[in-house]
């Protein structure tokens, strides 16, 4: 189990930077970005100090769930090249300390969110932490190939929490932002897993290419991409996005679909050559298409949220085409 391996491994004294590493600062910065977009798009007047505290709470909550994930997953993290350097499997931080940090920060962030904004936002934050740490990490991740599809809800909720923090409500447009990230998650992670599936197989994590094979994964990536693009364009029709958003989401969506189609037609994930085992992200035969979609998916999501944020900050009128 994760706890056992983590506790017997500790060699060097833990530094504060190791504890910071437990919070996955890069993921925290993405969460801040999407939560801020939700908060700004809500369009409600909010005290800037309380808004900053709300965003801080969401970021700390995300960090707390990451620490809980690293505590529980230390055993499989130790088997994968991408994750073996994390503080717990690397023996820098004890598993119990990661657990303690995760639980403490979870409680503090949820309570502070409730006091600073409202209890709907605090409840949504608590749900998100629990969903990621318990439902995804402890249950889905090791059990089903649909792990990142269902688990993706945790990563999709921050804009709804931001919206709820500003208004005390979670209307359809807030859930539309959630739906964009939710539908974006499968093609994004499956594209990555097409060229890292050996690592997942070694750790016994049932990622889609490991369980169903590369061909089925490529077909599912295409199917999810076809569903994703209408969801991404939808905010232009619901009073959330403006003309710039419509252009960015539609044009970017076409590029996304083109890359998904190319990936579907490629051999990505099938031609892994065991002799060519130098690095995790080596581009093997056909995997270039998977890497292209993975990279563009990050850019597309960032552009969508940045455009929405920019339009609302600039006071650009939404289209309301419906």
């Amino acid at each position: 189990m994760a706890m056992a391996s983590a506790q017997t491994n500790v060699r060097a004294p833990a530094r504060w930077q190791d504890y910071l590493q437990l919070l996955k600062p890069r993921v925290m910065s993405l969460v801040i970005f999407t939560a801020l977009t939700g908060l700004v798009c809500a369009g409600a007047p909010m005290n800037p100090i309380l808004a900053a505290v709300a965003i801080l709470c969401i970021a700390v909550g995300a960090g707390a769930s990451a620490a809980l994930n690293m505590w529980f997953d230390a055993d499989i993290d130790a088997k994968m090249r991408r994750t073996r350097g994390r503080p717990v499997p690397a023996g820098k931080v004890q598993g119990a300390d990661a657990l303690g940090l995760g639980v403490t920060l979870s409680l503090l962030s949820v309570m502070m969110m409730g006091v600073a904004t409202n209890w709907l936002a605090a409840g949504l934050l608590a749900f998100t932490i629990l969903f990621y740490a318990v439902v995804y990490t402890m249950w889905l991740k090791r059990w089903t190939a649909q792990n990142i599809v269902i688990g993706g809800l945790a990563g999709a909720l921050p804009p709804v929490i931001g919206w709820a923090a500003a208004t005390g409500t979670a209307p359809l447009n807030a859930w539309l932002l959630c739906a964009i990230i939710f539908m974006w998650t499968p093609p994004h992670f499956w594209a990555l897993s097409l060229y890292t599936s050996e690592d997942y197989a070694k750790a016994g994590v049932p990622m889609m290419p490991v369980v169903k094979g590369a061909k089925s994964t490529r077909a599912q990536i295409l199917a999810y991409s076809l569903l994703l693009i209408p969801v991404c364009v939808a905010p232009a029709f619901t009073g959330l996005g403006g003309p710039v958003y419509l252009a960015v989401s539609a044009l970017g969506g076409l590029v996304f679909l083109l890359l998904a189609w190319r990936l579907f037609r490629s051999q990505a994930g099938e031609a892994a050559d065991p002799r060519n085992d130098d690095g995790l992200y080596d581009v093997r035969a056909g995997a270039r298409d998977a890497r292209n979609l993975f990279a563009f998916s990050i850019l597309y999501l960032a552009l969508l949220f940045a455009t929405l944020l920019g339009e609302h900050l600039a006071g650009l009128k939404p289209l309301e085409l419906l």
């Binding site: 060097a12 004294p13 833990a14 530094r15 504890y19 309380l50 505290v53 502070m112 006091v115 600073a116």
Partner: protein, 50 residues
């Protein structure tokens, strides 16, 4: 063989860094609670009937 004195130094340095980080975290938390309380209650305290 590693030098035990050097190891003690490393542990002490790491512990000092952690203690400072915890202290900063606590101070930030206390300031946050204070500021949030003032912002949430501020106007109401001034407007209350005397």
């Amino acid at each position: 063989m590693s030098d035990p004195n050097r190891e003690d130094e490393d542990f002490a340095k790491a512990r000092r860094g952690r203690n400072i980080a915890i202290a900063i975290g606590l101070v930030v938390f206390i300031v946050l609670v204070y500021v949030v309380t003032v912002v949430r209650m501020g106007a109401n305290v001034i407007d209350r009937p005397i």
